[in-house]
């Protein structure tokens, strides 16, 4: 294992880096990139390490003071927790950032809520969108909806024609979060989360609009949304059993795996009752960083910089079906290339779930409220959990 390889300097002068990453889909892509990097840098070896339940393993490694040299994680609230605890080195001004989309860098700072520290280097991004079945839309002569009213009108048209407008997968808590992540950001007032943390806003009021719309969409759901899980939703989309699906772009390869011939489209919708053009909900798929106190910092940073070169970015984007962090690299997939303009123009907004305190059971609250169909109950429940979690965290 590469776990202990970093500490001892072998006689031949070869430095071994451990790349600790938590995305099992990325193992093959990283292997190819590592081979190229090692060919260009004969003095450095990189050993990839992907384990199940990577975050728990990483935390226990940190406790034992045995940090990996390079860490690749998903930019979520777990990463935020570690970054805020000061686990990672500051990457402000790192060479790896040259040529990266400033919007991606800002997205990382928004995530960790750190203005003066950059906890890592974002290398790939994802998005949360409305996926639709192009064939079903063409057969029914439907236009792609971009506003809330159009979404409802489209759903009604599909239903009137005897079809299933939406595939909802509320058996899984996290896929309930995916729908909530898509709809919520546009419906919140500017600066809502800062106000919430300052005590000037409440979830009870803030989440009502998004909750009301989620309940309304249940009228256009598949037969048993509370008994359908993520795989069930992907299968329904792959077989043309539903016209629309609110999910992350990571679902695209999963749907195509069931049916390679399915033609999918993606749309960014303005969910609020507003004329303003919508921003795309986007998050950091993989952020690369190094741990404070880990060995071989210079070599580790060179490897991270290698992953942000145009060639590596192309390989990462195409291999993982995600957006590159470089604006000058175009994804080979037309679907992603079409959405990438939002990133290039900086018209993105973060995942609202990343703003939640770790102790809040967001997915569970969403399932409960959707089943009860009471829009006010979501905000009330989450506010109560937020207050309790805030009290625990400030111990």
């Amino acid at each position: 294992m590469g776990a202990c390889a970093g500490d001892d300097e072998p006689a031949d002068g070869v430095v071994t880096l451990e790349l600790f990453q938590n995305k099992s889909e990325a193992i093959g892509v990283y292997d190819e990139l590592i081979a190229q990097f090692e060919a260009e840098n004969p003095g450095i070896r990189v050993e990839q390490n992907n384990v199940p339940d990577a975050l728990s393993v990483l935390r226990s490694r940190l406790v034992k003071n045995d940090p990996p040299e390079v860490v690749a994680l998903n930019g979520d609230q777990n990463f935020r927790g570690l970054a805020q605890a000061g686990v990672f080195r500051d990457h402000t001004g790192a060479p790896a950032l040259d040529g990266l989309n400033p919007a991606a860098v800002r997205a990382l700072q928004d995530l960790t809520q750190q203005d003066d520290v950059l906890a890592g280097v974002p290398i790939t991004l994802n998005a949360q969108v409305l996926l639709y079945d192009v064939d079903l839309f063409e057969q029914a002569g439907l236009a792609v909806p971009t506003t809330w009213d159009e979404v409802v009108a489209t759903a009604r048209a599909v239903q009137d024609a005897g079809g299933t407008p939406f595939a909802f997968t509320y058996k899984d808590a996290w896929t309930a979060q995916a729908v909530w992540n898509t709809i919520t950001p546009q419906t919140l007032p500017e600066g809502f989360w800062d106000d919430l943390r300052a005590g000037d806003a409440t979830l009870t009021d803030g989440l009502t609009e998004a909750a009301t719309k989620m309940v309304e969409l249940l009228d256009y759901a598949n037969a048993d949304p509370f008994g359908t899980d993520y795989n069930g939703g992907n299968t329904a989309m792959a077989r043309g059993e539903a016209s629309m699906y609110l999910q992350g772009i990571w679902a695209i390869p999963a749907i195509r795996a069931v049916n390679p011939d399915v033609r999918l489209g993606a749309a960014v919708v303005q969910w609020a009752d507003s004329d303003e053009p919508a921003a795309m909900v986007s998050g950091i798929d993989q952020v690369l960083t190094t741990v404070e106190g880990a060995a071989h910092q210079a070599e580790a940073e060179r490897f991270i910089a290698f992953l942000t070169t145009p060639e590596s970015q192309q390989a990462l984007s195409d291999g993982l079906a995600v957006f590159p962090a470089r604006p000058d690299v175009e994804p080979a997939d037309d679907l992603l290339a079409g959405l990438k303009t939002y990133l290039d123009e900086g018209r993105i907004t973060g995942f609202p779930e990343h703003q939640m305190l770790a102790g809040v059971n967001l997915g569970g609250a969403l399932q409960t409220f959707l089943y009860s169909r009471d829009p006010r109950s979501l905000g009330a429940q989450l506010q109560a959990e937020w207050d309790a979690a805030y009290e625990r965290e400030s111990l």
Binding site: V87, F226, G227, D229, G232, A358, N361, T368, A388, E391
Partner: protein
């Protein structure tokens, strides 16, 4: 000291050491962390009994206790009734007795996690498909997606899994009933239900005690099947204490806080077991 005695002490010491290292020490560590604000990583400070104070106003904990105890009582009663019936049946003079005994033991050798995933599929796909094909409205949606009924699915799997061992223990108990007692009973004219309730059951009482104790304790710590079937959902409808402690402790950075929760839960289980032993022991002396 004789050699055999020395041997006994050595073996006992090794067991004691292993028990201390792998059971007592982690428990003490958990207690230690429960007095801090440790998140599982990073710095920590002493916070005294603050974690314990907050526990009593935590709505999640109250709901988890309510689910866990309700579930444990229902599942334990069902397991014991079904197992006792199975044991009596398997103890009778029936064809393929040995084979049937082996078949009914199978649930015990399967991992509950895997069984959970299989039942997850049955409840989420198979049952709704059969339900809608037959036009039965109530069966056409997954009960695991219904906050009011999801616990039924967990109970079914748990009872199915736990009945194997419980049945074996009752079978062993039935072997201890002396034939003479049955002969005396039949001379007195006792048969069927009367014979079971007046002769067999009182003699089986110590086995009822041990089985109730084991099943209640086991069900209070229910974890695997919930992770496999609902993850504690929908909402928190099936979030047992173990699931809450694990998921919030490791995924939500509440390591110290959930350690405190675990310590209290341990005390609660110990008290419940003690209470059970006391009350049921007195009933054994019929």
């Amino acid at each position: 000291m004789t050699t055999s005695r020395r041997f006994a002490y050595t073996v006992g010491a090794v067991a004691l050491l292993a028990f201390f290292a792998f059971h007592t020490l982690p428990a003490l560590q958990g207690f230690f962390y429960s007095l801090t604000n440790y998140r599982g990583y990073g710095d920590w400070e002493w916070v005294g009994l603050k974690n314990y104070e907050l526990l009593f106003s935590d709505a999640r904990v109250g709901r988890a206790y309510r689910f866990t105890f309700g579930f444990a009582v229902v599942a334990a009663v069902l397991t014991n009734v079904i197992s006792l019936a199975l044991a009596v049946g398997l103890n009778g003079r029936i064809a393929f007795r040995r084979t049937l005994r082996a078949v009914f033991f199978v649930p015990n050798i399967l991992s509950l996690l895997i069984v959970g995933y299989i039942f997850n599929f049955i409840f989420s796909s198979a049952v709704p498909q059969i339900g809608s094909a037959l036009g039965v409205e109530a069966l056409s949606t997954s009960i695991l997606g219904n906050p009011d009924l999801a616990w039924v699915g967990i109970v079914v799997v748990s009872v199915w899994g736990a009945s194997a061992v419980t049945t074996i223990i009752y079978l062993a108990g039935l072997q201890t009933v002396p034939v003479e007692v049955y002969e005396a009973a039949s001379i007195d004219g006792a048969t069927g239900w009367r014979r079971f309730s007046r002769v067999t059951f009182p003699i089986l009482m110590p086995f009822v005690t041990i089985n109730t104790l084991l099943t209640v304790k086991g069900f209070l710590m229910v974890f695997d099947q919930i992770i496999a079937m609902t993850g504690g959902g929908p909402g928190d409808a099936t979030r047992s204490m173990s699931v809450l402690i694990f998921s919030a402790g490791f995924n939500a950075g509440e390591f110290a806080y959930q350690s405190a929760n675990a310590i209290i839960f341990f005390v609660v289980i110990a008290l419940v077991s003690l209470f059970q032993v006391r009350t049921m022991r007195s009933r054994e002396r019929v």
